[in-house]
Amino acid sequence: MNQASQRLWRTSPLLYIALVVAVLFSVYPFYYMVVIATRSLDQINDVPPPFTPAGEFGANFGRVLDNPAANFLTGLLNSVIVSAVVTVSVVITGSLAGFAFAKLRFRGRNALLLTIIVTMMIPTQLGLIPLWGMIQDFGWYDTLLAVTVPFLVSAFGVFMMRQYAIQAISDELIEAGRVDGASTFRIFWNIVLPALRPAAAVLGLLTFMETWNSYLWPYAVLTPENPTLQVSLAFLSYAYYTDYSQVFAATAVGTVPLVIVFILFGRQIIGGIMEGAVKS
């Protein structure tokens, strides 16, 4: 054992170098985003390209806010609303269904669960064209309903909460609740939900990030006048790609919240992803 550990230590300098290089590659585009966002336009076109941040961020971001075509603040507000609503709904519906599949007996349980697992494997784009038509028929085009309602539930969320509920909640606890005369919903609210909190937090974070970052569907059903943040960024970059400092200032502002959330909760997110990987 001791010998083995010594052998591992001997290979370590190379190992650390490899990992540090990987980390640099991972982090550099973030840094680059900050560099361009804080440079004036003519500095960007310098040869060699700039490698350090400067002090022009205020001016660049000011151009974003003054740009009436970017609708940046509308996009920001829309993204906050949509991400929050979708996250709360996915966590609640996922917990309820996960609890039912993990701990309640009912006819057709296994078949229904299998249905949910199968739907996770079908690409969403298969329904894209008709869904777009449905949104038109409902009169939801260019409204937040179009980017919210279809995503209020998630098969992955149900599956993840079920996996967690199976191991986190003992049957005795639920039995005890029943003996005390609690209704199923009371048991869910007072016993199950508190026990599911760690998994709910991870699911919530993942859902928030995914919704915040989603692009294809909002791009399809929203106009540039009423965008989500990602749609606003993309339109900004299509129309003003010569003004990279402006585009990058906006992109950086749209990315910083995620990076902060990730630095604060990264440990839990990574733990959740890795746990989910082993179980599925």
Binding site: A4, S12, A18, L19, V23, F25, S26, V27, P29, Y32, M33, I36, D46, V47, P48, P49, L96, A97, A100, L104, R105, F106, L112, I116, T119, P123, Q125, L126, G127, L128, I129, P130, W132, G133, M134, Q136, P150, L152, V153, A155, V158, G181, T184, F185, N213, S214, Y215, Q230, A234, S237, Y238, Y241, F248, T251, T255, L258, F262, M274, A277, V278
Partner: protein, 322 residues
Amino acid sequence: MSLSATTAPPSPSAPPPTPPRRRSRAITLNRLDLKLSPYLYIAPFFVIFGIFGFYPMLRTAWMSLHDWNLIGDHTFIGFDNYTRLFGDEYFWNATINTFGIFFLSTIPQLLLALFLATMLNRTFLRARTLFRMAIFMPNVVSVAAVAIVFGMLFQRDFGLINWMLSLVGVDAVDWDAQKWSSWTAIASMVNWRWTGYNTLILLAGMQAIPKDLYEAAAIDGANQWKQFWKITLPMLTPTFVFVVTLSTIGGLQLFTEPLVFANGNIIGGDQREFQTLAMYMYELGIENLSTAGYGAAVAWAMFVMIALVSLVNFLLVRRSVK
């Protein structure tokens, strides 16, 4: 008497309690609760998914058998849309582009992820969480933001990549003008974003392998390389199949990276150099409403390809590690 604890205390205005009836009502309610609750709890998923997930999927199949205009009328034409695909130059172009980018991204990405996961799996690694987080961080950012940043890195005149190439004497590349160069640029975005994710999944799989297997192998004199081939890889098969399947589904649906790289041009470059299948489907079905039925056929063709590639992957991975 013990049962009375399960019923609510009588409210003052209520008539004197009649225990048997109350009890039976409570029991009926209780039974109803036990029977119905589970269905109520899973109902939101099935209702919403049914309307916005499952129904559109079936409708895609139905549409693909029609000459379908999203705002106007439609006529049944059987499998004409599908036969038309075989002679459609743009469809094959999009297929080749999709697979080109798919191979350029998936293969290096998974090899790199396997390498990094093996490194991170070392028992004596310091700052493990920090490394994991840093490597995963690219996956947190939106595809749109990534595509904007990489679009600038791969800019022809003052992009960083061309500047670095000029240092080693290579002429500036017009990245979005040719197939090989645009595929490389797009694949590099995909690789940057997904290598860390795949690393974590593979790492999770590696950590689930019992440690005593390695100890036994070490006692028998197997070196680390041999342990990797004889223990890690075979035991990792299920995880590897999972990762490959996810990459396939994601890779063949590629849309945002090429679209933003093309500055929103749905045909992907002036000559469709990097239009993917998903972009072609979008062009037919949504940008151009009158060909929605044909777009639906492209959607199903995509689905069939994903299923086939997943199957081939599955068989290959299983065989190669046996």
